[in-house]
Amino acid sequence: MLGPGVVWYLGVAAFLFGIGALGVLVRRNPLIVLLSLEIMLNGANLALIVFSRHVRGGAGQIFALSVMAVAASEVCVGLGLVVALHRRRLALDVDRLSELRG
């Protein structure tokens, strides 16, 4: 493999996952929480694809494509929730949407 080794790509993937986790935990706008979730999924995808290249197998890339489909489904449902919140004129703030808290 020309260029950087597997470890370099894995470092980028780990940083992406960490930054995405930080966004999910810190931000309060549900739209940005969804965007940060996409960053986490993409970090995991990068690790899967790099490992797939490393072991020269196809399962990692298949898994990455499935993760993409699941991410698209998640965005579909998440954006549907955001639109429903906006229609009911509720605040788009995950800290204030706490009616289901036990």
Partner: protein, 199 residues
Amino acid sequence: MLAISAGGGLVWAVWAIAAFACLASSVAVVSFANPFYSALALIGNLGSLAVMYLLVSAEFVAAAQVLVYAGAVMVMFLFVIAYVGPRREAPWAGGPSWQTLGAVLAAGALLVEIVVAIGLSAGGRLSRSEHVNATFGSPEWIGRLFLTDHLLAFEITSIVLLVAAVGGVILGSHTRRQDSGAAPQDAEPRRERDLEAVR
């Protein structure tokens, strides 16, 4: 030999640019106050990730990343952000400060855990350089894998997408159906009552 080392240097340069763009745009996504700018930064993030997928010879996944993520998903995001309207939010404020501090510590601990777990369990074995044949990552190879070895994953993916589409339709039509149950002149006061009850 010279050509190989020059090619390696070129790959290093492209990797460094892509990795820097990837990390910088992910930090931008998390730290922008306006969700519109965050979504635009995430498009840059996805594009630079596609470049990295090309560097590890995953051509089909890179193309799918650009088409599905940077194309379809992000356009849907931008539509919803435009529909909801610009709402600004201070990126790091809100809530008690120990909450933010705890979130930063938790994310840092997660990062350290990932790095330590991968480094300790596999760090010594990940430095080999290997070559793959030309069909690795091509659409034909992916399609063959999807329809032979991973047929179950393929079919379950279609069911997941169908269920998500049905869920999105139900979420989108919920308030409308609730309103149409009442008489037309009663619809608006009733919604106001609902809102009061929710508040």
